[in-house]
């Protein structure tokens, strides 16, 4: 590892720093360098251990799930417990519907709030909104489920896809707000000033010039938020509820991939465990593809200058 050698340069200093221990200076130095090496090795080991679960999860998903992911998995409906085979067509469609509805609600609000925070950076309202957005982001997802249940399920006396979408939108808003603000701040002030100098009004500068410049970053950030909410289960437990049958209606209970994985995972049947692994593999494939794509998209655009 580069840069470990400067301990040699420190030798003279350390003996004058601790004059009382001149006799043992050489031993102390050996010990200090040993501790240095040891701690570097330990942090390196920490990095290895921290990435281990990810590798293990991916290996298990591929080994146990890949066998059950085939064409029928995407086109068939679930079969009753105890029967092998079947698919998750309704759950995949349901997740698509819920996530689309949540994005329709969450994206405009998140982008709008992000624009506000980036442009009125230090206004008192901006500071508190930023803080509250972080607090909202830290709320347990199941609490958002309770919120949507109280708001949309209890008054209407039935579960619905819309209630699930509202819970997920509440989760999405702080994520999108945060990325939008960061991406807009990356746009050089000169770009904004150039537009204003050409006689653009403030709002057209913001929307036509600044927002458009930051758009690729905002799109990838929003995709990451979509990937995050697509895998959420807890907010859907008592809003979207799940459905064994085919449904695309916004006002009826609807199946979702994470809910289906949960149901199968806690069942005692091996066939259903296999389906759960397959569903998890599809879900994680979706999430990883989006995360990796987003990573490269943002890096090629903004990441060149810094780290």
């Amino acid at each position: 590892m580069a840069g470990l050698a400067h301990g040699a340069g420190a030798r003279g200093v350390s003996s004058s720093v601790r004059p009382g221990r001149r006799g043992g200076a050489q031993g102390a130095l050996t010990r200090r360098r040993f501790v240095n090496r040891l701690m570097i090795a330990l942090t390196c080991a920490a990095a290895l251990i921290a990435t281990l679960p990810l590798v293990l999860i991916l290996v298990h998903l591929l080994r146990l799930g890949a066998g059950a992911v085939d064409w029928t998995f995407f086109t068939r409906m679930p079969v009753p417990a105890g029967e092998p085979g079947g698919g998750m067509a309704n759950a995949i469609a349901g997740t698509a519907i819920i996530v689309a509805m949540a994005s329709l609600i969450g994206l405009p609000v998140g982008v709008g709030a992000g624009l506000y925070l980036a442009e009125r950076r230090s206004a008192r309202l901006a500071t508190s909104v930023r803080f509250l957005s972080d607090v909202l982001n830290g709320l347990p997802s199941i609490v958002l489920g309770i919120f949507a249940w109280q708001l949309l399920v209890r008054p209407f006396k039935h579960f619905s896809a819309l209630a699930g979408a509202v819970a997920l939108a509440a989760m999405m808003i702080p994520l999108v707000t945060r990325t939008t603000e960061e991406m807009i701040r990356l746009v050089p002030v000169a770009t904004r000033e150039a537009a204003l100098a050409l006689g653009y009004t403030k709002w057209r500068t913001s929307l036509d010039i600044v927002l458009r410049t930051a758009l690729p970053g905002i799109v990838t950030g929003s995709l990451v938020a979509v990937a995050r909410i697509a895998g959420e289960t807890a907010p859907l437990l008592f809003t979207a509820l799940g459905n064994q049958f085919w449904s695309l209606s916004a006002t009826r209970p609807i199946a979702a991939l994470p809910l289906q994985i949960y149901t199968y995972a806690i069942s005692p049947y091996d066939d259903q465990h296999a389906q759960a692994w397959a569903g998890a593999l599809v879900l994680i494939g979706l999430v990883l593809v989006i995360s990796v794509a987003a990573r490269f998209a943002t890096r090629s655009r903004f990441g060149r200058g810094g780290d």
């Binding site: 720093v17 999860i57 624009l115 506000y116 309202l125 830290g138 009004t201 289960t233 807890a234 437990l237």
Partner: protein, 322 residues
């Protein structure tokens, strides 16, 4: 409003006026979107307290101190869930903090550039894995592994089976399993914040330590970590907030039992898993309300914990500009 003939100058003024009102509309709209966030938070708070109110009124403070949870006879005490939430989160923090801080130090101080980015990416990916996938992996891989290797090692090889902490039979689903899965899940959050805070420590701080003859580790230990301490604590508290409210993965591995047991091998309950697990079976209004009251408790605790964490991180990261 006296009508007068329009002049060229007036027309210019009109156009400026129109654009100004465009600016005003734009400002109102973005301000409105920004206001959605506080309003949403207030509505969430209102919803959970509204839903939990009947249970609070019925049981009072005893709701969180009684340990008797009997839906059939209408008796609800959430103490086991509160206890389980605290213990599982504590296990997670104890396991994850040293690892996460180690990873962050490695990434910000020691790792060569080529290694840094991929490893940071892999650690960040841990945060992208859906909770239900952690639960699936936990219930079908981690729990059997813990039962057959770790638990038997602790009780038989280390002879700790007699101590209260590791007493009782090892079924698998347990407080220990929940703590382990939570540790994996909160690690990326703690490590991301710690990295951010370490990067905010001024260069001069490091250079001064090196100039005094410190080794690289001494530099980190004596100059960098003390500077970053409150930010790191903030990151850990942020991780705690995640652990307290984590639902699916915990529900799947903790065993779901209304008991308070000192043993980490015993199954338990957390507040979030209690709601997730019993809601669909809740038949009477009081049962539903009791579950919602647990959710209200969770709301309060996570809001406080997150507020403290954000404040600590913000205070440290602000040093960047100075």
């Amino acid at each position: 409003m006296r009508p007068r003939p329009a002049t060229v100058a007036d027309r210019g003024a009109l156009r400026i006026d129109a654009s100004l009102s465009g600016d005003r509309v734009y400002r109102w709209v973005t301000t409105g979107f920004a206001l959605v966030i506080p309003i949403l938070l207030a509505m969430i708070g209102w919803a959970v307290f509204r839903a939990g109110w009947p249970a609070f009124r019925h049981f009072g403070v005893a709701f969180f101190t009684e340990s008797d949870w009997d839906p059939v006879n209408g008796r609800f005490g959430a103490a086991p869930a509160v206890y389980g939430t605290i213990v599982s989160s504590a296990i997670a923090i104890v396991l994850a903090t040293p690892l996460a801080v180690g990873v962050a130090i490695f990434l910000s101080e020691f790792a060569p550039r080529r290694v840094r980015q991929p490893v940071a990416f892999l650690v960040d990916l841990l945060a992208a894995i859906p909770s239900v996938v952690y639960g699936l992996w936990g219930i079908l891989v981690l729990v059997p592994f813990l039962r057959e290797h770790v638990m038997s090692f602790i009780s038989d090889t280390l002879h700790l089976g007699g101590t209260p902490l590791f007493a009782g039979p090892a079924y698998g689903p347990s407080m220990l399993a929940a703590g382990c899965i939570l540790a994996i899940m909160i690690l990326p959050y703690i490590s991301a914040v710690t990295r951010e805070v370490l990067l905010a420590v001024p260069r001069s701080q490091r250079e001064a330590a090196l100039a005094l003859g410190a080794t690289r580790w001494e530099m980190i230990w004596d100059a960098v970590l003390p500077y970053a301490r409150s930010g790191i604590v903030g990151g850990v508290i942020l991780g705690l907030g995640r652990a307290l409210g984590e639902t699916m993965a915990v529900t799947m591995v903790i065993g779901n039992a209304h008991d308070i047991s000192a043993s980490l091998f015993a199954p338990g309950y957390t507040m979030a898993s209690l709601i997730a697990n019993e809601f669909s079976e809740a038949t009477n209004d009081l049962h539903v309300s009791a579950l919602m009251a647990v959710g209200a408790g969770l709301f309060i605790v996570t809001v406080i914990v997150n507020a403290i964490a954000r404040w600590l991180v913000w205070r440290t990261a602000r040093g960047q500009g100075a």
